[in-house]
Symmetry: C2
Subunit: 336 residues, 2 copies
C-alpha cells in the first residue's frame, strides 16, 4: 500500500515491489501463493478511521487470506507440497512461522473454497444468518450483493432452513443466475427503475430477515418492507466504504430509529470472529455437506496475476464481479 486511498482505490495507492526472500529460520516455511482472497473488509483497513481492527500502514504489504503451497520447510509441522490456508497477503511468496497456517484437504473440495464458501465468507453467512437472523420456515430472507460469496451462501442456507430467499443484485445476468443457478425464490435488480415495486412484488409477505452487507439506497427500499420483529444482521456496508464524508441530508437516522421502535426491529452488527469458537466446527461439517450435495453452490471470479489484484479489488467493491473474487497468483497444483 503506497498511499491511503481517498474514495475508490486507484492504481496510485498500490505499488508492486520486488525484494529478496530472507533465509528460513528454524520453525519457518517458505510459502508460494496460489490464490489470494479479495474481500470488502480490506477497503476499511486501508483507511485510518476507527474500526474493529487497527488500520494498515502506508508502506506495508496489503494483507489478506491466501491459499499457499509449502515450497521449503524448516519445521516438522509442514513438508514441501503441503497446501495451506495462510494470511500472507498480496505477495507471491512469504516466509512465515509454520504454526501460522491451517491445512487444506485438496480431496474434500477445490482448494480455492478455503477462502470462499468453506472459508471466512461462508462462515460469515452461516453464523450471521443462523445466530442473528434465525430464519424460521416460511419466513422471507432478503440479502443484497446476493451473487457475492456471502450473499449467495446466505440465500442458499436460508433455503436449507425452509425460508423464502430473495436476492438483490445488479443487472439482469446476475438476477437470472440467482434464480436459475443458485436456487433463490426471487431476484430483484437494484439498478432497475422499478426496483422498489419489484422488491415489493418479490416479498408479498414482507421481510423477516434482511442480511445487510451493502448499505446505501438498497437498505431504504428494504426498510419499507420489514415485518414486525424483523432481524437485520449487519456484516458489511460496501456502499459506504469508499465514502469520504457524511452524505447530504435529509437526515434519515430519526426515521430509521422510529422504524426500529415501531416494528420492534433487531439490528445487530457482527464480525464473524465472535462466533468462531462456538460454531466453526458445525459450519465446516454442515457447509461441506451442503456443498457436496448441491444445496449450496458457489461461483468464483478469478483474476490472473498479482499485478491485476488492484483492478479485481475495485471490481469487487463496485459490484462488477460475480461470486467470490480471487487472484490466482501462481499455478494451482490440483489443476494439472
Amino acid at each position: 500500500m503506497a498511499a491511503r486511498p481517498v474514495g475508490e482505490p486507484d492504481d496510485s495507492v498500490f505499488e508492486l515491489v520486488e525484494t529478496d526472500l530472507p533465509e528460513l529460520a528454524e520453525g519457518q516455511v517458505l510459502l508460494r501463493t496460489v490464490y489470494l482472497s479479495l474481500d470488502p473488509y480490506m477497503r476499511g483497513r486501508m483507511s485510518d478511521a476507527k474500526s474493529y481492527a487497527a488500520p494498515w500502514q502506508v508502506g506495508d504489504v496489503m494483507q489478506g487470506a491466501t491459499v499457499c503451497e509449502v515450497v521449503e520447510s524448516r519445521s516438522e509441522r509442514r513438508a514441501p507440497g503441503d497446501l495451506v490456508l495462510a494470511y500472507t497477503g498480496w505477495q507471491t511468496h512469504a516466509v512465515v512461522d509454520a504454526r501460522h497456517m491451517r491445512s487444506i484437504d485438496p480431496a474434500a473440495a477445490p482448494i480455492s473454497t478455503a477462502v470462499g464458501v468453506l472459508g471466512m465468507p461462508g462462515f460469515t453467512a452461516y453464523a450471521g444468518l443462523l445466530q442473528i437472523g434465525r430464519p424460521q420456515p416460511g419466513e422471507t430472507v432478503v440479502v443484497a450483493a446476493a451473487t457475492g460469496p456471502v450473499g449467495s451462501a446466505v440465500g442458499q442456507v436460508a433455503k436449507v432452513k425452509g425460508a423464502r430467499a430473495v436476492g438483490i443484485a445488479g443487472g439482469e445476468e446476475k438476477c437470472r443466475a440467482l434464480t436459475e443457478e443458485l436456487g433463490f425464490d426471487a431476484a430483484v435488480d437494484h439498478r432497475s427503475p422499478t426496483f422498489r415495486e419489484d422488491l415489493a412484488a418479490a416479498t408479498p409477505d414482507g421481510i423477516d430477515v434482511y442480511f445487510e452487507n451493502v448499505g446505501g439506497p438498497v437498505f431504504e427500499a428494504v426498510a419499507r418492507r420489514l415485518n414486525k420483529f424483523a432481524r437485520i444482521p449487519v456484516c458489511g456496508l460496501v456502499a459506504n466504504y469508499n465514502a469520504t464524508s457524511a452524505p447530504e441530508g435529509p437526515d434519515r437516522l430519526p426515521g430509521f430509529m422510529n422504524k426500529v421502535l415501531t416494528l420492534s426491529l433487531t439490528v445487530r452488527g457482527f464480525i464473524q470472529d465472535e462466533f468462531v469458537a462456538e460454531h466453526e466446527a458445525d459450519f465446516q461439517r454442515e457447509m461441506a455437506a451442503w456443498v457436496a450435495d448441491g444445496s449450496v453452490r458457489y461461483r468464483e471470479h478469478v483474476a490472473r496475476g498479482l499485478e491485476n489484484a488492484p483492478e479485481a479489488f475495485r471490481g469487487m467493491l463496485s459490484g462488477r464481479n460475480f461470486g467470490k473474487t480471487l487472484v490466482q497468483v501462481g499455478d494451482d497444483p490440483t489443476q494439472a
Copy 2:
C-alpha cells in the same frame, strides 16, 4: 381529541366536552377516575403515521390508563368502592364492562403506582433493561430522561444488578436528584455546553447499555462512548414525536450503521407487550420488593383537574415534568 396536532399539541387539539352517562347494562360498572396516566406513546397515537398501533381518530376520547374507583356495579365481579386499573382515558367517569380492569391492592403501595413504577412504565424499564440490555456486574448503563418513570427505574434496576448507572437529564435540579435521591452513580445535564465532555467523564469505561427513550442529540453523544458489543434497547423517541418531517442533513444514518458494524452493536426496538406473558409476574414480585426495601424509588408530577391534562401532557413531552406525570381527576379515597 378535536384535531390532529402538528408539532406540539396545543390547546386547539383538545376539547372538554360534557355528555350524559349511559344506563348501566348487565355486566357493566360505573367508574370514577382518580388518576389519569400521561405517557409519551400518546403523542404517537395522535398522529396518523404508521406505528405499532392504530392511530386515534379525531373526535374520539383521548385514551389512557387510569386508576379508578367503582361507583356502581351491575356485575358480580366488582363492588362499589373497589379500586381498579382500567383504560378509560381522559374522562371523569366511564361505563365499562367489568372484565376490562384489574384489581389494585391499596395496602401494597400507593394506588398511583399502578400506572407508574409498578405499572407499564416500570415494566418497560424492567423488561427492556433485563431482556435486551442484559447488564452485567461492573458494566455501565446509561439512560436518558432519567428522572422520568421509565428512566429512573432503568437506572435503579441496573444498580440492583451490580452495574454502574449514569443518568442524563435536563437541568441541575434533576441531575442532583438522580445522584442524591435515586442512587445513580453519576448524572449528566444534557443542557450543559460541556455535555459531551461531561458524559465522557461520567463513563470512564465507556457505555455497555444505552437505554434509548428520548432520541435526538443525546443519542449522538452517547454513540461516541459505546463499547464493543453494546446493547441499545429502544423504547421511545420523545424527541422525535413532535417532528413533522425528516430533519435537515447531513444524513447520519450511514455513519450510525458503520458504528453498528464496527462495534458489533445490538439495537433492538420493543414495546413492553411482547414481554408481558413471560415476565410480568416476575416483575410484579421483584419490583414490589425493590420498592418496598427502597432499592427503587420514584417521584410523581401530579396535575390537578382534567382541564389541566393538556398542559401536563406538554410538560411531559418537553421534559419540564419530574417523574411520572399523572392527572388527579378526582379524590383519592386512600388519602383521607
